[in-house]
Symmetry: C2
Subunit: 201 residues, 2 copies
């Protein structure tokens, strides 16, 4: 079953299935009406992660839950710690908040152990809400890399953008992740279209 | 005098100087307080074009004025006619309106002949309002191409984004305009960063 099938038929359970090194993604029907928070069982692992949350199953470790969320009220200290972990340069918190507020989509990946939750992955996208989206700041905590979580995170981002009917999904890939994105269906310079960056002279 | 000088010193007049094939751009100080519409003289050619409007001088033809504007309440029929003129495929008006409403920057270029005005150029940018902007839909009416108006339009777009302190300005260039953007200071695949587009499988 392809991601497209799932989005079209909307019959998949609210789970994402995981395997070592390869994730067979089973996305929830993202347009299914979501229960109001008051009706969510107290032991619902997705409670507090927002209406688009999905759980990745099985988790990597025992007692662990891995949850994808589109909530954008992320603690910026936690986000900074995640970006620090991959060696990104620090950015002013005020500007990061502004960027999140003005992103079309903000996706976070959480590890939940009992009542403790930890931000272990992130991505966001700018968009005109109609034709184009551009994905930025894709990151997975190095301790959680190599297990396919980056792929699941990106498939979730793509599913959300498809759900919003954005036809043109783009990104700018560092050289060492070009193959990663290629395996996800991203095409390099299609029809000779080139990514360009402006530098002040 | 470079564009950067002008933006830094803010001493240039509210005019853009034009020459055949090469435009020496003299941008207005975009952060200069703008007079309220009620105080604009009735014969002000920039009246009605919004607070960021600049005139390109000299114009190409007699009795002609060329004006750049950031107003986003563009008549969508006019915009469609412009896009038709360069052979772009038609897009649903409702989605175009949505895209304009959700663009960070919308720039239009107008030819004014007496009381008649005509849309002859366009560009827009999406952004997170903090770190990144991506420029889309850059177009000049073919009858007005080859006179440097594309360059002036793009310099105005860049100036607006610099004014908003967006450090990372990007775009995806079709093969035949890569050199055009290169001359404007855009760099292809800097440090091996590649533009990628997602295609549904």
């Amino acid at each position: 079953m392809s991601l497209q099938d799932i989005l079209t038929t909307g019959t998949a359970p609210k789970r994402v299935a995981a395997g070592m090194g390869f994730w067979k993604s089973l996305f929830s029907a993202l347009d299914t009406p979501v229960a109001a928070p008051s009706s969510v069982p107290a032991d619902d692992p997705l409670a507090g992660y927002g209406p688009q949350a999905v759980e990745i199953t099985p988790a990597i470790a025992a007692n662990q839950r891995l949850i994808l969320s589109t909530r954008r009220d992320i603690d910026l200290q936690e986000l900074e710690a995640l970006c620090d972990a991959v060696g990104w340069s620090r950015r002013p918190v005020r500007k990061v908040r502004r960027a999140l507020d003005n992103s079309f989509l903000v996706v976070s990946l959480w590890e939940q152990l009992a009542q403790q939750r930890r931000l272990i992955g992130f991505a966001r996208a700018t968009s005109d809400h109609a034709f184009n989206a551009t994905i930025w700041d894709v990151v997975i905590n190095p301790s959680f890399q190599g297990q396919g979580l980056g792929r699941v995170l990106m498939e979730y981002v793509i599913a959300q953008l498809q759900q919003a009917e954005i036809p043109n999904i783009t990104l700018f890939a560092d050289p060492h992740v070009v193959d990663f994105y290629r395996r996800l269906g991203f095409v390099l310079d299609p029809e000779g279209i080139k990514g360009m960056f402006w530098y002040p002279s």
